[in-house]
Amino acid sequence: MALRRKLKAQVLCAFLNFALSPGSEPHNRLAAHLPKEDEHEMEFDTATSVSQSPVKHPLPELEIYCYLLVLIYLIDQKKYSEAKACSSASVARLKNLNRRTVDVLASRLYFYYSLSYELTGDLAEIRGNLLALHRIATLRHDELGQETLLNLLLRNYLHYNLYDQAEKLRSKAPRFEAHSNQQFCRYLFYLGKIRTIQLEYTDAKESLLQAARKAPVAALGFRVQCNKWAIIVRLLLGEIPERTVFMQKGMENALRPYFELTNAVRIGDLELFKSVAEKFSTTFSSDRTHNLIVRLRHNVIRTGLRNISISYSRISLADVAKKLRLDTANPVADAESIVAKAIRDGAIDATIDHANGWMVSKETGDIYSTNEPQIAFNSRIAFCLNMHNDAVRALRFPPNSHKEKESAEKRRERQQQEQELAKHIAEEDDDEF
């Protein structure tokens, strides 16, 4: 990252001249993208390089690295159309290379290729290319490339809200152990988004929370996004996230709308919910969470209903409708049906008396006399034991790196010590006899 800030036109020119011989084709192609500000310096450079060793055969890795540097420079300078051209050229070049050593650089190049197209708004164009590249990477067993390209494809589909196609691709693509932590985080985030839209909230919550946890601390924007979606999924599941989630360093401003939303859901007040949703509607639309917020209305009503059922042993349906602030044509009948559905779903424990038009809450009863605590304890114990087993399993692989660091001297020392110990034990045995 420190290198990125130092990338300037002169530095790049000098590096290109050093790495690739000036007259060669790749050099010309790359140098064409750089601005010809310092004509004078360029000439000076070419003069000196000519006097140096005449012909250098650049390694393909070096060439790809140069492409990468130029691309990063162009994107940082906001020259997006040129970046597009450069990245397309680099991808064409990569298709011919089939060396495993280039893989890591290639995957970064694919990422910037997709980024340059996204910044110019042309993502749909490269979808075919990305799919072809993914095929090629799979054939060559280039796992890092496969991972990166799968993530780029998912990002492509999700950018256009094509959740159906994204899910189809994700379910059929070959899966393996993640090589790169960052790619794995991204994959979890996209997976979480897809699952949220498909109404599978439990899976979504797991993926999103894992992504937020695994993400490096420096990736603030990514973590903010993960947290936003995770908050909404938790609200949709009916649980209220704690206040500390919103107070994380650096995220307070971004998460403010969601904080107010959580408040409205927690209180169960429809009016407040509607006003908050309207107030921050632009934020929600830009985050693409608008449709999910609309789904939250149902949760607000449920929470309100639960509060009412706990506080009142008997309450008329007209009052229920008033408290929930149902603003429809026929609030009492609506309230009746909503309460009936809530009872059926098990959200509240009550009965309705239609003739008198009121709702009677049941006694909650003593939970400790049932099996509930036993079941809850059992799940917690099982979780802890599982975690212990996983930790032990992770410990089994010996740290190989340490063995190599042991120099010859230390090994001799250790062997000497072991011999002495063996002799000692043998002597002890003899003594005992």
């Binding site: 094509l162 159906d164 609309v294 049906s337 059926r344 009965t351 099996n371 114990i381």
Partner: protein, 267 residues
């Protein structure tokens, strides 16, 4: 104009006339012939080639599929609707830049949403919803479907049934009838749990039958466990659990054994 194109157009006119006459058999026959002829055009999906008549062919094909969708609603064939709609979708999404917008686009999109709701495919409903732009969401047909789904989720079933009166187009009636049936089953399920008993007139009102006989028939068919005494429908509540419950001994033994086993593993 292309002779193939003229032939297709003429057949299409006959097809439209058959639909207007409500002659579904002729309509279906003509439709199959039209579909076969459409395969001859190279400018249609999935090829999307750029032939000289491309725009005209695309518009024609789109109209044909729109009418096919409406015909399937008339017949009441949901599979055919799904098939034709899937064939119609690329025209709305990929070719939307090249063709002038169709007047029936939103109506058909709304119909599709309604169909997914009736078939209880809520996940696909929401996926389709994500694909719609904010302007599309303002359209009355789409709004109608979205509000319907909301009321259905919340449980305000009376709103669902009153929405039947406010359908934007007559073609929606078929799906609204199916929806009414689903809603009635839901209401019955909810009422079972929520009420101890209901008078016959109240039950009739909630379940939206027009006469007591229909109500009794419905109860006999679907819910024989409900009792009818003295003009009151009594729902069978689940038997209250006996005060001294059995200890689930097998489960407890299994759990304790697993604890012992795991603890043993801890060195």
């Amino acid at each position: 104009m292309d002779p193939q194109l003229t032939e297709v157009s003429q057949l299409f006119e006959r097809f439209k006339a058959a639909c207007v006459r409500e002659d579904v058999d002729t309509g279906s026959n003509l439709l199959s012939k039209l579909k076969v002829m459409l395969t001859g055009f190279r400018s249609l999906p999935p090829l999307f080639e750029d032939t000289p008549n491309a725009i005209h062919e695309l518009t024609l094909a789109r109209d044909i599929y729109e009418h096919a969708v409406l015909l399937s609603v008339k017949i009441g064939d949901q599979d055919a609707f799904e098939r034709d709609f899937f064939q119609l979708k690329p025209y709305y999404t990929d070719a939307s830049g090249r063709l002038p917008p169709s007047s029936q686009e939103y109506m058909i999109l709304g119909l599709n949403l309604l169909r997914l709701l009736v078939q209880n495919r809520i996940a696909e409903f929401h996926t389709e919803l994500e694909l719609l732009s904010p302007t599309a969401l303002e359209n009355p047909c789409i709004k109608h479907a979205v509000e319907l789904e909301q009321s259905f989720m919340e449980g305000a079933y009376n709103r669902v049934l009153s929405a039947k009166q406010t359908v934007p187009y007559k073609t929606y009636d078929y799906f609204m009838d199916l929806l009414a049936k689903t809603v009635r089953d839901e209401i019955a399920g909810c009422s079972e749990k929520a009420y101890d008993y209901l008078s016959i007139s109240d039950a009739r009102q909630t379940l939206l039958f027009s006469s007591d006989d229909e109500l009794l028939q419905y109860i006999n068919e679907e819910h024989p466990e409900w009792e009818i005494k003295n003009g009151v429908v009594i729902f069978q509540k689940a038997k209250e659990s006996a005060p001294c419950k059995e200890i689930p001994s097998l489960q407890l033994i299994n759990q304790t054994l697993s604890y012992a086993r795991e603890l043993e593993r801890i060195v």
